[in-house]
């Protein structure tokens, strides 16, 4: 359950942790232009505020998974990971039957509602667009996406270095690495109002073995609150994953 909570919080953090002015967004400009010679990281550090974990945790009591509610489009089946006895599991394996090929992808879906959720997400879904504060959070998120490769590779490198020092084993420094083949920044989904989406194609290499992954995520306002969706599969499953994720989006009211 803690892992599920962390995953949920991670998505919420990503979606609420920063600021952006992405293409395709309507709204009030929030980000100031970079000062000459200033890096994106430095600029981001200036606008990043400490993440309000308490507020995010406060969302949890009224949050619940919804993919297992039996409202999935025809043919899809969601099997929750057996990590807890949660009656509304948020993470599991989503089976996607296809005409020529079937696929199974990891899926995460959580509905957040209540005062805390409103306080957090309301300003992203205003009729006139979004507020500067919401824009800042989204820019922060997008900067995070762009810097994910560097950040992850640093973590992998430091882990390899630490392991070498701790164990004396000469494990290679490039034991793990990732290359972001494609980053689709957080943006409004044109075909669906009140929905933001993003996508990533991380090419993970572990001890020389390649794991080409594809991830697509959404944050949508629904009648009952806000829904966060995340799908993860192999890159070869991209078409099936994209199609299924949009079908699930369309099935939500």
């Amino acid at each position: 359950m803690k892992r599920m909570l962390s995953l949920c919080l991670g998505v919420a953090l990503l979606l609420t942790g920063g600021l952006s002015h992405a293409d395709g967004m309507d709204g009030i400009s929030a980000a100031s232009p970079l000062v000459h010679g200033e890096s994106v990281s430095t600029a981001a550090a200036k606008v990043m505020e400490p993440l309000p974990m308490e507020e995010l945790l406060a969302l949890m009591p009224e949050s619940r998974g919804f993919l297992g509610d039996g409202n999935l489009p025809k043919g899809m089946t969601f099997t929750p990971f057996h990590l807890s006895a949660d009656p509304h599991p948020s993470a599991g394996l989503l089976f996607l039957p296809g005409k020529k090929q079937d696929a199974s992808v990891i899926a995460f879906g959580m509905e957040m509602k209540g005062e805390a959720a409103e306080a957090y997400f309301h300003d992203m879904f205003l009729p006139e667009g979004f507020t500067p504060a919401a824009g800042q959070r989204m820019l922060h998120f997008n900067i995070g996406l762009m810097e994910a490769e560097t950040m992850l590779n640093n973590i992998f490198l430091q882990t390899a270095k630490g392991t070498r020092e701790a164990t004396g084993e000469p494990i290679p420094y490039d034991l793990m690495g990732v290359s972001m083949m494609h980053v689709e920044q957080l943006h409004k989904v044109l075909s669906r109002p009140k929905t933001y989406g993003f996508a990533l194609s991380p090419y993970l290499v572990a001890d020389g073995w390649a794991v080409p992954l594809y991830m697509r995520g959404f944050l949508a306002k629904t009648g009952e609150g806000y829904r966060s969706l995340l799908f993860l599969g192999f890159q070869s499953q991209k078409d099936a994953l994209d199609q299924a994720s949009y079908e699930i989006l369309r099935s939500m009211k």
Binding site: T79, Q101, D102, S104, L157, A210, S236
Partner: protein, 245 residues
């Protein structure tokens, strides 16, 4: 060396290992020495090139590998009535693994990366006969153990349950006997199946290739997700059509 330099080297290695930035003609040599040219769009990663793979390979080449495997078999008491089998099985397993190949095939097409795993082992006719003998012994002894000891039967239950996972077949080809342009006779077949365990459905693509020559049979299996399988199937079929030794 500074960490930043290691970072640069690591990233360069990553790009090369990943094959994202390069496309080169690659071939795959199966356990029995059969060579498959997979063309320019597919790269092949040999498991022996990985850090842990190379360590495993080095270990297998040592004499003590057989002793270690034999001790493990004895510890598990797999052949209580025929202890000599333990040494024979260990020797055979190490020999097969020494000849064995593990590859990853990869390709990038229209911005999408596909990958699949290939495992290839070669068994001599003598190995196959021994294997049948040991399997029969293992089966009889397991059944007797279950009959004799109910407590043990309870412990075995989860293991037996593992083999009873549900399988569904979405599509499959006919098993075909073919001969390559270079005269290599082989049999091949493929299937799209789903493995269902504990409610989880895992769709996979499997392609098997069997080649028999001079008292040695090479068994090769390509496993991938179904989309990657559909991508690699014509590539592997073309490579098989031109395969030789």
């Amino acid at each position: 060396m500074k960490l930043s330099k290691w970072m640069t080297i690591s990233m360069a290695s990553l790009a090369l290992a990943g094959g994202v930035l390069t496309a080169d003609a690659d071939s795959m040599v199966l356990s029995g020495g059969e060579k498959l040219d997979l063309g320019e769009k597919v790269s092949v990663f040999d498991g022996e090139r990985s850090f842990f793979g190379s360590q495993l390979h080095d270990w297998l080449m040592e004499d003590k590998a057989v002793t270690t495997v034999e001790e493990a078999i004895k510890k598990e008491n797999l052949f209580p009535k025929n202890e000599a089998y333990s040494h024979d099985v260990a020797q055979m397993a190490v020999d097969v693994l020494r000849r064995g190949k593990l590859y990853q095939v990869r390709s990038e097409d229209k911005g999408i990366c596909y990958q699949g795993m290939v495992v290839s082992i070669a068994l001599s006719d003598a190995d196959e006969m021994k294997l049948a003998l040991y399997s029969a012994a293992l089966d009889i002894q397991s059944k007797e153990a279950v009959k004799d000891n109910q407590a043990e039967a309870k412990e075995l239950a989860p293991l037996l349950a593992m083999t009873h996972g549900q399988l569904t077949v979405k599509a499959h080809s006919d098993w075909a006997d073919k001969t390559s342009k270079k005269g290599l006779a082989y049999s091949t077949g493929s299937a799209q199946i789903s493995i269902i365990r504990d409610g989880f459905t895992l769709p996979v693509y499997l392609k098997a290739i069997i080649h028999k020559d001079k008292g040695m049979t090479t068994y090769t299996l390509l496993a991938a997700d179904q989309a990657s399988g559909a991508y690699f199937e014509p590539v592997v079929d073309k490579a098989l059509a031109g395969a030789g030794k």
